[in-house]
Amino acid sequence: MHQIRFHGRGGQGVVTAAELVAIAAFNDKHFAQAFPSFGVERTGAPIEAFARIDDKPIRTREHVYEPNILIVQDSSLIGTVDVTAGADDKTLVIINSSKDKKEIKLPVPSKNLFVIDATKIAMEELGRNIVNTVILGAFAKATGLVTLNSLKKAIEQKFSAKGKSLVDKNISAITRAYNM
C-alpha cells in the first residue's frame, strides 16, 4: 500500500490534491482513498490531507503516520509543522519552493527530495498561487504511481462543472510540471 501525506494551508487546494490522486489512481484501476484532516477551518491555517493507493480494498481509516510520499505545497510550513514526521530514508518528498535543493533544510536524504517552483508555474498558467495541480504533475513524474493521462482525466472529472477554461489551464500546468 502506498501512503501519501499532503501538507499545505487552508485555501491552497490541499484536500483537492489528495482527492485528485485518489481519482487518478481509481482511473488506473487501483483501489484508492483520500480524506482531509483540517485543523481549524480557515484560510491560511496548516492542514493535512491523506491518500492511499492499493491493489486491494482499503479499510483502515487512521491518518497517514508513515508516509511513502510527502507533498509539501507551502515550504513556509517548515519550522511550523513537522512535515517529515514518520518519514524514513525511502520516503519521497516533493516540495514547492523557489529555493535551491541545497537550501531546503529537511531531515531526508537529498536523493529523495524533489523541489519544484510550483508557485511560478501556477502564477504563469493559472494566474493564481494555487499550486495543487502543478505539484501533482511532479508527483506523477517522480513516483509513477499514477499516469499523466489518468491525472488529466481526474482533473476533467473534478473541475468540469467549473468550466472548460479552468480544466484546460490546469491540464496545461500539470503537463508542464510533469515534463520538467
Partner: protein, 393 residues
C-alpha cells in the same frame, strides 16, 4: 457501476434515486456536502423532490414531519447540535409513527466546540423510538439507506442512518450507487394505508392528546414494534442482497456472519472480541488480521453492531458467549454513568447468561484519531484484571 466518490456525494445521489417527494435540511458541518449536493441536483433539474430550505434544524425536522404526515416519502440530514435542536421533533416523529429517514453525519457535541466525529450526538437520541443504523464504509451507508426506507415504510417507524462525519462524509473511495431501476427492484413506491395520512377527504389527527389511561399503552406499542422490527431488518437485508447484490457491501473472506443487524469478522474461536460501530471497524479489521497472523494467532475477532436500535441483544450474546473477554470501543460517553451507552447495553444483554468479561473503552472523542496502535493496546489492556470503563488514546 463502481465509481470513486465522496461519501456525501454517493449518499446524495442514492437519495435522489430513492425519489423522496420532499427534502428539507439546514446545513451543518459535516453534513453540509450531502444537502448541498441534493440542492444542486434540484437546481440542475436532475431531481423531482421539493427542496425546502429551512431556517433551522428544528424547522427542517418539522417540515419533513409535516410532509411525511401527508403520506409522501421524505428525507433530511443533520449533525451534532443540529440533531440536538431537532430533538423535540425527533420524539414526535417516532410517536406519530412517521416513516421519516434521516442521515446523521456523526459529530461530537459542544462545549468545547468540535466539528469532528464521534457518536455523542446520535447516542443522545437513542431512546427516541427511531431505528438506528451505523455504517462502516460508503457502500454500507448506501445499502443502509435503502434498508432504512424499506423497513421504515413497512413498520411505520422512523430510521436514522448514522455515518461518521468527515471519516465517511468527506472521504473519497470506490462505491456503487444504485440506479433508479435498481432502487425500484427493492423499494416500491410509497403508498401509505388509508387513514394513516392527512387527507381532506378522510380527516384524521396525528399526535393527539393521550390521557394517562392511554399514553402508556401507546408507548409500549411503539417499543414492541421497534423491538420486533429486528426480524424485518434481517429479512429485508436478505432481500436486498438477492435483488441488488452489486450495491451491498461485500462480505469479506474472514467474515463469518454478516446480516442486517451485525457482522462478525476474524478468528472462528476467538479468545478476545472487540465490539464497535461505524467506520472504526475498518481499521479494527486490519488490526485483527495483523494480530491473528502474529504470536497471538487466531485469537481475535471484531463484532460490528450495524443496528443499534432495535438492540440485537441475543445476537450479540450468541457471538460472545464462548469468548474469554470483550472490549467495547465506544465513541460516546454517558456522562455520570458507569459505562458508555453501548457497553451498558452489552453488559445487560450478557448479565447472568455469560461469563465473558466485558470492558468499555472510550475512544476517539471529538475526532481523535483511532490508530491500529491504539487498538492493539486495547487488546492487551482487556487481558488485565477489572472491567472499569477507560478513556484511552
Amino acid at each position: 457501476m463502481k465509481e470513486i466518490l465522496e461519501g456525501s456525494q454517493a449518499i446524495a445521489q442514492t437519495i435522489n434515486n430513492i425519489k423522496p417527494a420532499v427534502v428539507s435540511a439546514y446545513p451543518i458541518t459535516p453534513q453540509t456536502h450531502i444537502v448541498e449536493d441534493l440542492a444542486k441536483l434540484k437546481a440542475d433539474g436532475k431531481a423531482k423532490y421539493e427542496y425546502v430550505r429551512a431556517e433551522s434544524e428544528f424547522a427542517a425536522a418539522s417540515i419533513v414531519a409535516g410532509a411525511s404526515a401527508t403520506g409522501v416519502r421524505v428525507y433530511t440530514a443533520t449533525s451534532s447540535q443540529g440533531l440536538l435542536l431537532m430533538t423535540e421533533v425527533i420524539f414526535n416523529i417516532a410517536g406519530m409513527r412517521l416513516p421519516v429517514v434521516m442521515t446523521v453525519a456523526n459529530r461530537g457535541v459542544s462545549a468545547p466546540i468540535t466539528i469532528w466525529n464521534d457518536h455523542q450526538d446520535t447516542m443522545t437520541v437513542r431512546d427516541a423510538g427511531w431505528i438506528q443504523l451505523y455504517a462502516e464504509n460508503h457502500q454500507e451507508a448506501i445499502e443502509q439507506h435503502l434498508l432504512a426506507y424499506k423497513v421504515a415504510e413497512k413498520a411505520n417507524l422512523p430510521a436514522m442512518v448514522c455515518i461518521d462525519g468527515f471519516v465517511l462524509t468527506h472521504t473519497y473511495e470506490d462505491v456503487s450507487v444504485p440506479s433508479t431501476a435498481e432502487v425500484s427492484k427493492f423499494l416500491p413506491t410509497f403508498k401509505p394505508k388509508k387513514g394513516q395520512y392527512l387527507d381532506p377527504q378522510n380527516p384524521v389527527s396525528f399526535g393527539a392528546f393521550a390521557p394517562p389511561a392511554f399514553y402508556q399503552e401507546i408507548r409500549e406499542e411503539l417499543h414492541n414494534d421497534l423491538r420486533n422490527s429486528k426480524r424485518l431488518i434481517l429479512d429485508e437485508y436478505e432481500k436486498l442482497k438477492e435483488t441488488v447484490p452489486d450495491i451491498i457491501k461485500k462480505t469479506e473472506k474472514n467474515a463469518h456472519i454478516n446480516n442486517g443487524l451485525i457482522e462478525y469478522y476474524g478468528a472462528a474461536h476467538p479468545r478476545t472480541i472487540l465490539i464497535a460501530m461505524g467506520s472504526l471497524v475498518g481499521t479494527i479489521k486490519d488490526t485483527v488480521d495483523e494480530i491473528n497472523k502474529g504470536k497471538m494467532a487466531s485469537s481475535l475477532g471484531v463484532l460490528k453492531i450495524k443496528t443499534f436500535r432495535p438492540f440485537p441483544a441475543n445476537d450479540i450474546l450468541k457471538m460472545v458467549i464462548s469468548a474469554k473477554q470483550v472490549a467495547i470501543l465506544e465513541k460516546a460517553v454517558s456522562l455520570g454513568a458507569t459505562d458508555g451507552p453501548l457497553t451498558l447495553d452489552v453488559k445487560a444483554a450478557l448479565k447472568n447468561k455469560a461469563k465473558t468479561k466485558v470492558q468499555g473503552f472510550i475512544v476517539g472523542l471529538g475526532g481523535r484519531d483511532i490508530t491500529k496502535k491504539l487498538i492493539t493496546r486495547i487488546v492487551k489492556e482487556v487481558e488485565r484484571k477489572g472491567d472499569q470503563m477507560m478513556f484511552i488514546g
